[in-house]
Structure formats: structure tokens, C-alpha cells
Symmetry: C2
Subunit: 641 residues, 2 copies
């Protein structure tokens, strides 16, 4: 049985680490993105996202502007608003959102269709360009948004709109004669349809999602066929000479065993595959999910959780091919990987999946947003030399600093919705079982039979492995609470009333049965360590990275001077912690090393290098580039003796 | 006074190292490329180069096929034929070439215009797309070809054709009213025009070349202006949002001090700048040449001589930005760099320039062609993991093996013309002075006053630093012979009659005055050494490369197993030589080291790596990928103690 997610309205987060980021969503990111979408931020790339809807609704005259999936900016914003309102209603924000809903409803066509690109610019091409048109992708984000807004506010108007859109999709697509036998060029609608099913109980949406997965990659490739049609609209130049692996349509999804193609498409599909696998008890599908997850995490993922190692086509490449300075590691891809891993954690109850959820959230995802909430990374390199990231080169996609906005702006609102829905990642429940995947302070409650059990959590993560929990309302029949044992945790103990109590280790969760209101303390030591990659990772062999608990650390020029590549860690001398007030309070890590200094007169020369002893300082990767532009490196060379 | 180049007809090369490559030109490469250009090689990319001329000449009906500069394939082939015939006439080849000349002459238009792309496809756009149209580039190659063919055979027909073309260019372009004030989007015609001047003594061609250099980058950028014209024809998608640095038109050429933009364009321009600087005694121009050459060789060149470190736009990037696995290092760019360095050597008589000529020839250029003469590298990486060089990724331009031909096929015929004209790089003369830039066995003769001096050279380079020379016909007034002292040479001595004789070191040349027929032996020791890059080269810091004399070495999987990145050189234990019969006879180099072997179960883990002791073998970089596909690396990590 898959664990259920607790409603966000029943989860309150008050966490020393996360709250400052989450508050930014409401206080800064949502208002900022609202201004962006209304083109009120000077110096940021134009969005005109809402303008497009006004044109589609007939309120304004004009041309469509932006990417073919420009509508998803407002969808992800609305989804973030929904999640944000779950933890506390807000008149002002809700008024804005209700206005958006009215606009979207006005822009929606009588048959339920809603996609401003096609409404405004290509009304005759609807559903005829599944490969590049992104209509189903956009629809999926609208569905996710509407369900989030409905769950938070109980208001049905947006939900009703997207149900109508969902109905149109269910009529339009399918195996029947006269139906379109295609499937999305960018997966996402599957997730949206599943959420419509979860919100309404109407199984046709779930079946539709399953259908899209079932036919994907079967027989002649739909996109290659579609591209041959004289009607076909080429939107992206890079889609010529199309490789079906790009959209994971190269073979049936149950037969896929390596993560291929565009990373965001891939992980969004894997999310839906996991949902469908558990909803239908589809073992072959679940097995494919396990294989794909293993392939990513054991062969194709950066230590920071980044996925998609090619800057061209934002795609997976081959096993162990993980270059640090020209990778993509899109923020959205890590968000998708966290969502996929969360589903796998809830389905399998194995802690390794939640380990990756945590890794993604604390590293590649959080790195996507500046501490002030106003700038964003789309690409997340592990090594940057600012002057080298110049336009019209192999590193043009790598930015040396977070950007205000992007022409293709999928990442910023995706971060907003992720932070606003952080609660969904923390717990899973099943009858009298509660699983704590993440150690984040706050309160929640959940139903066990007729009782409502409350759980209060005080966590010192990620800085210290100390978590106090207080359960109240525990029924006499008892409940079973399962705390994740992170792979990095040492000396994991659980205490009650000052005394250590035994626990069972169930697939990486410490399982404790309680039959009365109880306070439990989980303790484990978190130490900074040098981590190495498998030696088959040619980019990292001979190097070490610093981790401490879930946090990956990095070196910045600000702390260590320039030419970080010339630093060598003396791994035998250990690491020490340095509490710091920077970044709202962190524990930095220091270690001994040396720096190779120049002693050559020419570019290439036979010479004995000189070294200086150095103390090297590392800070959490998520916080890099918050102190100005400079070099950054996650991996540092180690002295080999 | 600039040193003069000896006519190729007066140079005979009989060299243990080079002859096997040079013979390939006549025996394999020229016939093979002939078949390619006539589309007779199965599995190779289509060329249809000659077909285009037949259509332009009206012999056939059809459409233009190929790149806008497809004509240059036959031009470079003709140039190579010319050089090849210089060392020995060949009826069969000459008959083919004469046929080509007839065809070209037939395709040429009455006003002298000859460019099949515009004649066939865009007759109204002639000279209206200097940015992308490549007409002047193509014209330049035609001029070089015609001069080479004329110098070898004395036949004027081809030369007369291109003189007519040159006249048309001189009429069309210039500062006059009604003239086109543009300049080439891809430099090359400047070199061609200078060669027309050298062949005919007609200074207007030289002036035209100077004009193109003088106006480049002056005032409003010509290409940006041109692109705004409604007439403008966009050919290359990557030329949108054009950056004038790409074609070195961002500032006046005399003011340029860093090598920017497309590497081949850059170095072809620098060649013409050097020629013009010496022809006009233009000190500012020469100073710019010196600065640009220093910028490349001290900050932007690979150890192999490769230039252009970005796979995107084949361009220079920034100082010390020299990634090894996704660089470009186009074969043509190194050819241009050798030509530029040769000019600088002849102008300045400083040995450092000839050092780079030698480096380019023995490494990045020679690597461009397989030992069998039938496959070619366009891109020359310094590190390859074959499975990672896959299409549609950041490394799609890197090929794991030499290719039969290319859609854009500038490199293969460029290598052919370079090998066929190797003689031009060896000597420079000025009255009673002879300079020996390169140590290549063979015979030559040159005039000193009324005497003809013969020089016979027996060189053991690159394997041993032993060069015997025999001068006959030395006039009583004497001559001065200047042997280059390579930067890598140790214990450089010159002997005559078994006795060491003194020499003067003039800017890196050992200068000896002789007044009678003399045999001189130059000896220096060539030892394998570990070379390091400046520590500012982040890709190479902590690594070493093996060099021996002019040869850069590399590690291949064939000799060292896979995962070359896991090897560490023990530089304290030295290097030793291993004579081998492979590749027609080489000296391989071996050294001690260790290999990190896997001891992790997961992709990222805290573990103590294990090492195995290894003897590592290196072979000349130029010969890599002649024993099948496998990993290759020039730089190897060094153990740091």
C-alpha cells in the first residue's frame, strides 16, 4: 500500500533552516513573479504571460509573446499560491489569484481548450504539434495549479475549468476511431490528470494518464510521423532530425532501463509512471521505475542531485559522464527528481528514496534561488570560473550568477511551488503508520481510525542530528512511527524520557510502536566528510567533495582566493566545523590543503611546481553566489601520497 | 628584411619521418579526395563539389549542393596538386588538374566572377552577403590554388582565370564612390591577393589586401549594417545576433591584442597582416601580429598547438580557458597558425616562431590525418572517452575516430595542401643568409649572388637530435647558415670534421659563417620530459604531459586500459624510451605511475581509494586513433607528495 500524503493544510512548518526560504515565497517570490509576469521588473526578460491571456480572452488586442509554453508561468505561480495559502489564507494574494482565475476562465474556449499560444497564434494547429507544441504540458501544469488552489481554498472555479480541459483531453485522445493517438511531447499532463483523479475520484483521468504512458514508444514513433505531416509546425530549430530518446518515446516505458533524453521530461514521466504503477498495482511499471531511479542515482546524477549533464538539449548522456563545468543540472529536473523519489519513497517505504528527496531539496533545488528570493539559477554547475561562462561558447548556458528571470522561465516558479509545498515531502501515512521522511520542524496531524494524532517536531537539521518529536492523541490501539535513518547518520539512537529505546530498522526507517502520548528524541551524529565519486567518473577521480549531513559543500573564491583548481585537499588531516552567522547562520567546514602556485614563465614548461599551505573553507553549495560573483567548485583535488 | 621562401620546385624532401606522410598526398589523399569530390566513395558525406561547377558551366542541369563555400574543396585540392607537382611532375594527375582548370574556366562568368553557390542559386545576391556568403574566402583559395599550380607547371590558364577574378574584386571593392566598402566575412582573400602580387608583381593586388585589412573593424560594423538590408540572405542560423568579434571586425586590426572569435578566420587574417606589415614596413601592424601571437601561444593555445577552445562557433574564448574534452582545435586553425608563425619567423628571424611552426606540424596538424591517409579529424580533442562523444550533446562536435569526409570539408584538403607544401616551412633565405627553421631531410638549392649553393640535409628528427648538412657551391664571399635552436634542445653543438665549432646565438638560431663547401653536424639531446601547464590553466593544473622533442605524447586505452583519468604519473621516477615498430617506427615513452581502482559500492561514498602500480605508455599524439577506437588523454594526473 502506498503511503498517503498529508494535506498541506494540516502541516505547519516552523523550521530554523527552511522557514526563511519558505517565507520568501509569500513575501518576495510570489509578489516578484507577479510583477515579472506583468512586466513590471526593469532589467528582467519580458514575460507578458498575463498579457497573452488577456489577448486570448479578448480583453486586449495583440500578438502572442514568449515561449510556446509561456502559460505555465502563471500555472506554476497559481500552484505556488495554492500551496502557500494552505499554510495560511491571505486576502490580498487570494484576491489576485481569483482575478487570475477569472482571466483564465475567460480565455478558456467553450470546448474547454486553454492554451494562449494556439488560441492566439495557431488556432488551426491545436493538438497537431504534440512534439513541440507543449499544449498537454501546459494543461498538466494548469491541472496541478487548480488542484492546489482548490485544496487550499475550497474554491471550485479554477478546478472546474481544468476539469473541462481534462474532459476535452479525454475526448480528444485515446485509442478510439477519430481520436488522436498521440501523446505529450513534454510529459506533465499525466501528473496533472492523476491529480484531477485524486481531487475528484473520477477514474477516467487516471485512465487517461495511464493511456498516455501505455502508448508512449509503442510502434512507429508518433512524433516522427507527426513531423512528416504537411500541417506540422516547426517551433524549435533543435527539433529537426528528432531523436525519440529526447522525449523518452524511443521504446515502451516499461522496457526503459536507462534515463535518456531531456531530463525534465524524463523525471516528470517517471513520476506519473510511479503513480500509475501504484494505482494499478502494475509491477512491470514499478520495476521500470526502480531501474530508472537506480540508473540515475548510481550512474547519472551529480553529487548535488543535479541531473542532465549535457548543456545541449538539457539531457542525460551516458553512465558516469558528469562534467562539472558545462553540465546542465536544471533546477526543474531536480524538482522532478525529488517528486519522483518522493513517490518511490511512499510506494516502497525504502529510505534510499527519501535520502534523494532530501539531497535534492537541500542542494540542487535550493541553489536555484538566491537568499533574497529575487534571482534564480536555471543551470547548476559544480564548477564555475566566471570569466569563462561567456555567450556563444560551449559554456554559454552556464551563468556565473543567478538571473532575474529567463526567456524560458520554467525554473523560478517551479522553485516557488516546491518551497511552498515542502510539507508534502515530509510525511507519509498509512492507517496507524506514520513515516517521517524528512526532519523538518513543525506540527502536523493525521487520522488514525477515529483519532486525530498530533505530531510536533523540533529538528536541528541540517546542522545537528537532533530531532525531538511529541505525539499527542495517540489511540490505545497504538501507532507506529517510522523515522528515516539517513545514509549519512552515525550512531542513530532514539530516546524516550532520557532513555534509549529499541527500534526496528525497516528498509532504512527506525520503526517505533507507541500506545500513548510520547515524546521521542532521535539523535545521530552529523560530521563533515570527504566524499569521493566512483572512479569511473572521469571528471571527479582524484578529487573529493565535502558533505555534512544532507548538505553538499563548495569552495568559493571569496573564501579561498581565485584558481580553486590549484587547491589540493590534505584529506588525512581531517575537517573541522566553523559556525558562522553568514547566510542566516550556517556551519562552514574547513580543512587543510595546499595550493599550487605559479613558477612557470611560459604556458607550457618543464618545471617543479611550488606549493603553499592553505586552510580551505567550504560553505553549503545551496548558498553559493550569494556574496557576489566569483569562482566556485564542489570538487577539490586531493593529495595522493 | 623578410626572409624569402625557396621555391618548392627547388626543395626535395626525403625524410624518414615526413616522407611517408607526404607520399600519401600523391598516392592516396589526392586520388581519394578526387573520388570524394566526384561522389564515388561509399559511406562518405556527399560533396558534389565538381557537380556544382558543371552546373555553373552549363554542362549539366541541377541544383547547387553543399556548403556555401563548397568550391573551396576543389581549390584546396588544386593547390595541393600544385605543390605536389612541384616535387615531381605527374602526367596523370596533371591531366586531371587541367581538366579541372577547363571546368573552372567554363564556369567563370565573363566579368571574372566565379562562385558556384551564387552563380547557381543566388545570382542576384553577389557580394551582398559578405558576412556569410564566403565569396571572398572562396576567391582567396582559388588564388592560392592557381598560383601553386602555375608555380609548379608554368601553365597560365588557371592563373589567368583568378587574375580576372582578382581584377573584378579590385574593381568591386574599395573606398571609391560606387564601390563596395565591405570586407570579407571569412578572411582568406587577403592571402590569395598577396600571392597574386607575388606571382605577378602587380602591386594592386597587394594594395587590395591591405585595404581589406585597413577598413576591417573601422567605424560602424559592416556586417551588422549589411544584415539590416532587406536583401540580406541569412545562411547560417548561428549568425543571428552577430558578434563582430567572431570575424575579428570588432576593432581595427592594428588595435587588436587578444585573439578573438573564429580561430581559422583569425589566423588567416594574422597571416595577411604579417605579409602586409613586412611589405609596407608597417610597424603598428607588425606589433599587432606580435601581440596576437603572444596572446595565443602564452594564453590560448593547447600544448598540441590546437587553437579555438569552444566547440560552439569554433572560437577562441578567454585566457587560460583550455578544456581538454570539448574543445575544437580545428585542424585548419592549426594550419593557419603554422602559416602565421612561419611568416613571423621569416620576418623576425626569432626561433620561437619556428618552434610553433614545428609544434603545429608534428602535432595538431598531423593528427588531422590517419596513417593510411583516408580518414581525417576536424576537431582535435586532448582527451576522449569514446562513448561520451555522442550526437546532440555538448560533445557532439568531438569525434572518437577520424571521419571519411565532412559535410563542411575544409580540413581534409587543407591537410593535403599542407603536407604537399611542407618544403615552404623549412628554409628562409636572404642574400647570403640561409635559415633552417625545421630539421627535415632532403636537398635544396638557393642563389647567393651568382652562385647556386646546394644544401643536403640528413636529419634524425624527431627521434634524435642529429642533423648532418652538406653545403656545396659555397662562394668565396661565404654564406651564413643559421640553424634553429629548438627550445627543447639540450647540449646544442655544431661540429665540422669531427670538431665542435663555435656559433653565435642570434635570436635562437645558431649562426655559422662558411666560406667553402662544408659538412656540418648539429647535435642536441632530445629527452622525454614531463611538461606542466601554467597553473592558471584550470583544466591541466596538477597534471603533466609528456613531450619528447617537438612531439607531444598521449596515452591510449590500447596501451593503458580504460579509465585513463584514474592514472597518476609518478614524476619522480622519470621516463624511459621504448623504440617501437608501430606507426612505421616510433619511440614510445614509458613512465611509472599508479591507477586508482574502484572500492566504492555507490556513485558517491566516503572511502579510501585503492591504487595499483602501473607502467604507463605514451605514444605520439599525432598517431592516436590509428589502432582502433579507445580512450585517449594527453594530460595525466601527477602524484602530489
Amino acid at each position: 500500500m502506498r503511503l498517503e500524503t498529508i494535506n498541506l493544510t494540516d502541516i505547519k512548518i516552523e523550521d530554523r533552516f527552511w522557514s526563511k526560504h519558505i517565507h520568501l515565497v509569500k513575501d518576495v517570490i510570489l509578489p516578484y513573479q507577479w510583477d515579472i509576469m506583468n512586466d513590471k521588473v526593469p532589467g528582467a526578460e519580458s514575460s507578458r504571460c498575463l498579457e497573452n491571456f488577456k489577448i486570448a480572452a479578448g480583453r486586449r488586442q495583440g500578438e502572442f509573446y514568449g515561449a510556446v509554453f509561456q502559460d505555465t508561468d502563471i500555472a506554476k505561480w497559481m500552484e505556488a499560491v495554492g500551496y502557500s495559502l494552505s499554510s495560511g489564507r491571505n486576502q490580498e494574494l487570494e484576491a489576485l489569484a481569483d482575478g487570475v482565475v477569472d482571466l483564465l476562465a475567460e480565455a478558456q474556449q467553450p470546448d474547454g481548450y486553454m492554451d494562449t499560444y494556439f488560441i492566439i497564434r495557431e488556432p488551426d494547429k491545436k493538438w497537431k504539434d504534440l512534439c513541440e507544441g507543449h499544449e498537454l504540458y501546459t494543461a498538466g501544469h494548469m491541472m496541478e495549479a487548480a488542484v492546489a488552489y482548490y485544496n487550499a481554498t475550497g474554491k471550485r472555479k479554477f478546478l472546474d475549468c481544468v476539469l473541462k480541459l481534462g474532459d476535452l483531453i479525454c475526448e480528444t485522445f485515446g485509442p478510439g476511431e477519430g481520436q488522436n493517438h498521440g501523446y505529450p511531447g513534454h510529459q506533465e499532463v499525466e501528473i496533472g490528470l492523476i491529480k484531477l483523479y485524486e481531487a475528484t475520484g473520477n477514474r477516467k483521468y487516471l485512465d487517461m494518464a495511464k493511456y498516455f504512458l501505455d502508448i508512449r514508444g509503442l510502434g512507429e514513433n508518433y512524433f516522427l510521423k507527426e513531423q512528416k505531416s504537411p500541417d506540422y509546425l516547426h517551433i524549435f530549430p533543435e527539433f529537426e532530425d528528432y531523436d525519440p530518446r529526447y522525449s523518452q518515446s524511443h521504446k515502451p516505458v516499461r522496457e526503459q532501463d536507462t534515463a535518456e533524453g531531456h531530463a525534465v521530461r524524463a523525471v516528470y514521466m517517471y513520476c506519473a509512471m510511479a503513480d500509475v504503477a501504484s494505482a494499478y498495482g502494475d509491477e512491470a511499471m514499478l520495476e521500470a521505475c526502480r531501474r530508472l531511479w537506480e540508473n540515475i542515482t548510481e550512474k547519472r546524477m551529480y553529487i548535488t542531485g543535479g541531473i542532465g549533464s549535457s548543456g545541449i538539449l538539457e539531457r542525460f548522456t551516458t553512465d558516469y559522464d558528469l562534467p562539472n563545468d558545462y553540465n546542465y543540472s536544471e533546477t526543474c529536473a531536480s524538482i522532478g527528481m525529488a517528486l519522483f523519489s518522493l513517490r518511490m519513497a511512499n510506494i516502497t517505504r525504502e529510505s534510499k528514496y527519501a535520502d534523494v528527496v532530501e539531497l535534492e531539496l537541500y542542494n540542487n533545488i535550493l541553489a536555484g534561488v538566491a537568499l533574497d528570493g529575487k534571482r534564480f539559477f536555471y543551470v547548476n554547475p559544480l564548477e564555475v570560473i566566471p570569466g569563462n561562462c561567456i555567450p556563444r561558447t560551449s559554456r554559454e548556458h552556464v551563468k556565473e550568477q543567478r538571473q532575474k528571470w529567463f526567456g524560458v522561465a520554467c525554473c523560478p516558479p517551479n522553485i516557488a511551488r516546491t518551497l511552498a509545498s515542502l510539507g508534502q515531502y515530509i510525511y507519509g501515512t498509512d492507517k496507524d503508520q506514520i513515516y517521517m521522511h524528512l526532519f523538518i520542524s513543525g506540527q502536523t496531524c493525521f487520522r488514525v481510525g477515529n483519532s486525530t494524532v498530533s505530531l510536533e517536531v523540533e529538528s536541528e537539521l541540517p546542522w545537528r542530528g537532533e530531532v525531538s518529536t511529541s505525539l499527542t492523541g495517540v489511540p490505545e490501539s497504538g501507532i507506529c512511527i517510522n523515522f528515516r535513518i539517513p545514509a549519512y547518520a552515525r550512531d542513530y539512537t532514539i530516546c524516550s524520557g532520557g532513555r534509549q529505546i529499541p527500534y526496528e530498522n525497516c528498509r532504512g526507517y527506525a520503526s517505533v510502536r507507541v500506545t500513548e502520548d510520547t515524546k521521542l528524541q532521535i539523535r545521530f551524529s552529523i560530521e563533515p566528510v570527504f566524499v569521493r565519486a566512483d572512479v569511473k567518473v572521469s571528471s571527479d577521480v582524484g578529487k573529493v567533495a565535502v558533505m555534512r549531513g544532507p548538505l553538499v559543500y563548495c569552495l568559493e573564491e571569496k573564501d579561498n582566493g581565485n584558481n580553486l583548481a590549484a587547491l589540493f585537499a590534505d584529506t588525512e588531516k581531517g575537517l573541522w566545523e566553523e559556525p558562522s552567522e553568514e547566510f542566516g547562520g550556517i556551519i562552514a567546514v574547513r580543512f587543510q590543503g595546499k595550493k599550487m602556485v605559479n613558477s612557470s614563465r611560459h604556458l607550457y614548461e618543464t618545471y617543479e611546481p611550488q606549493y603553499e599551505t592553505r586552510e580551505i573553507r567550504a560553505i553549503p553549495y545551496a548558498y553559493w553566489n550569494n556574496r557576489g560573483v566569483g569562482e566556485m567548485a564542489v570538487w577539490v583535488k586531493a593529495i595522493i601520497k
